[in-house]
Symmetry: C2
Subunit: 343 residues, 2 copies
DNA sequence: CTGAAAGCGCTTACAG
DNA sequence: CTGAAAGCGCTTACAG
């Protein structure tokens, strides 16, 4: 019922193998034959069967995207759509398809990745996160399956994995120093779950900036929230209940900042007059908060785009050395920061 | 190099066909044999090759997701992640994989869909939008390829397609009537591009509510914006420059509302004192706007979940009648609406 | 430059 | 309940 390579071959009066070569645009086939075959394909409305091709040459032309287990939460954060947008752009350019992970728990995700690999569903995998104790990467490493990490490897020799990341340590350090320059000394930190390597980097940058300025790091100023949504709110209540309130806040995610700003508004705390805030990601809507937030643009789209580029290159040349790439970041100053109030 | 069905067969001392039947868990195989075969699979670390299976039985166990061409814009709107989340949940439950469209233009998307269909990449397709003049649906219809639409068909006999939708007409009508009840008579409308069927429904609901209340529909109160992001801003400037400003606004998208609220704040227009606003979608962060927005929850997740359920059912039973399903909506009252000011 | 043949790893009537 | 055989639609050495 379906038009196959054989039908085309018959009509064009050539062997199936020749048709196959025309599809691959092999240089060994004469222009004349190519034209004849192409005409036959046109006439019959031929389209190659991907599964057959994949089976024959062990290649799928599709890339797997693996999201953190908290898909529920994750996808509510514009980070993921945006990084996927970058991935999509490059993948489309290079004629790769995209296969999405659907697992909700760490275990399910590992199962899926195993299926992607063993089942030959994809040629390579993009990991959208780096989590401590993660088992996906060790598995991929062991199978020598091409993958690229968005984030940085942890507990694993860096030379073994291709990854693209921001300098999150430096970004957080800079941002904290910026707050210090504005005269703030009581600076709070609201970050994500300590399960993520990202959070470690954020935290270290924050601490080092303070220490460099000879300011003691206070544990009660540091709050971690895995649940981005309500997290922002709980965190701010905690901080604002302290005897010594911070006068500035480093919040590591724009969506969290939305929650924080809302909460502060309700509590009657004026931003930036009473409290300054610096955020991270520069997600589209972050300029629509009130007041519009000062935030670090980490070029999410580029993370996805470059990761895909590197992955495809690794897929095509598995023998080449792993590479790392740092995507630049940029502080976008809007209206949530001001000099500390005297007194 | 790879462990295949043959290796397992050899070790278990059965024929490859038997192994295949064990994988399919055929009831014709004795428990004893099953156990022996499973043990062999375990021992060898066997995993089925999906491409081979797909080729042999012409089934992929994967579903295609097709996003609107404006992927650039689209994905910035939390609607898509959220609907995909619903899709993901059901797909995972039923052991289906997900394949994502990557095209950026209408033409590219059609090409991709054709490739999905002709290339046997997916068993069925979920269309995340309904656009006027769209060519994807007619193609799918012609090929009799299983698909489900999120939205409603336009210019196509409804009995021909399975779809899941909200009653957007009624929702907008109700919301407008709510504003009327609060005493507003000058009610503006900020909607999406007229290319989308969704916008037609929104607009009709808005108009009918006004007409029913004997209020003339004013063209200058109606603004369409395709670009959600800046759109919100341009639109509000236009409206607020009128001699007769509206006292209330129906905005058909939360993200747009964020832009609108920001703009109003800058212009010194107080919400809800000077202007009321009702929005649509109840996206996660919509409760974090200031003030928190009153919006219609359209149960995006459910749209995706049910669509997937229906699609899988259509894939499995192509002969059955097409179905339609309306997902409920609910007005979430927060703080952007109040009675009209006297005078 | 082109063809005949084997093979990729499964599934599924058909027999028994 | 199990096996032998054909087939799914491609690709790719190997010959010529």
């Amino acid at each position: 019922m379906n038009v196959t390579i054989k039908d085309v071959a018959k009509l064009a009066n050539v062997a199936p193998s020749t048709v196959s070569r025309v599809i691959a645009n092999s240089s060994k086939i004469s222009e004349k034959t190519k034209e004849r075959v192409r005409a036959a394909m046109q006439e019959l409305g031929y389209h190659p069967n991907f599964n057959a091709r994949s089976l024959a040459n062990n290649t799928t032309k599709t890339l797997g995207i693996v999201m953190p287990n908290s898909a529920k939460v994750a996808f509510q954060n514009p980070f993921f759509p945006e990084v996927i947008r970058g991935i999509t752009a490059k993948a489309h350019q290079e004629n790769y398809g995209l296969y999405l992970s659907t697992g909700q728990t760490e275990e399910e995700i590992l199962d899926e990745v195993m299926e992607m690999v063993y089942g030959h569903r994809v040629d390579g995998i993009i990991l959208l996160y780096s989590r401590i104790g993660d088992k996906v990467m060790p598995f991929l490493l062991e199978k020598e399956f091409p993958f690229v990490l968005i984030g940085r490897p942890y507990d694993i020799d860096e030379s073994l994995v291709t990854y693209v990341n921001n300098d999150n340590y430096k970004a957080t350090k800079t941002v904290t120093e910026y707050l210090l320059l504005l005269g703030h000394e009581k600076i709070g930190f609201i970050g994500g779950s300590l399960d993520f390597v990202l959070t470690l980097d954020h935290l270290q940058g924050y601490k080092d900036a303070l220490e460099k300025a000879n300011i003691t790091v206070r544990d009660e100023f540091i709050v971690h929230q895995s649940e981005v949504k309500e997290g922002g709110q709980d965190a701010i209540i905690e901080l604002m209940s302290l005897n010594q309130r911070p006068t500035a806040l480093v919040v590591t995610d724009d969506i969290m900042s939305f929650g924080v700003l809302r909460m502060l508004d309700e509590m009657g705390v004026k931003v930036p007059e009473d409290l300054s805030l610096v955020s991270f990601n520069n997600v589209m809507i972050s300029e629509f908060s009130s007041p519009p937030m000062t935030t670090v643009d980490i070029h999410i789209y580029d993370l996805g785009f470059r990761a895909t580029e590197l992955l495809i290159s690794d897929v095509l040349h598995p023998e080449q050395a792993k590479r790392k790439e740092i995507i630049s970041h940029k502080l976008i100053k809007r209206q949530t920061c001001s000099k500390v109030k005297k007194g």
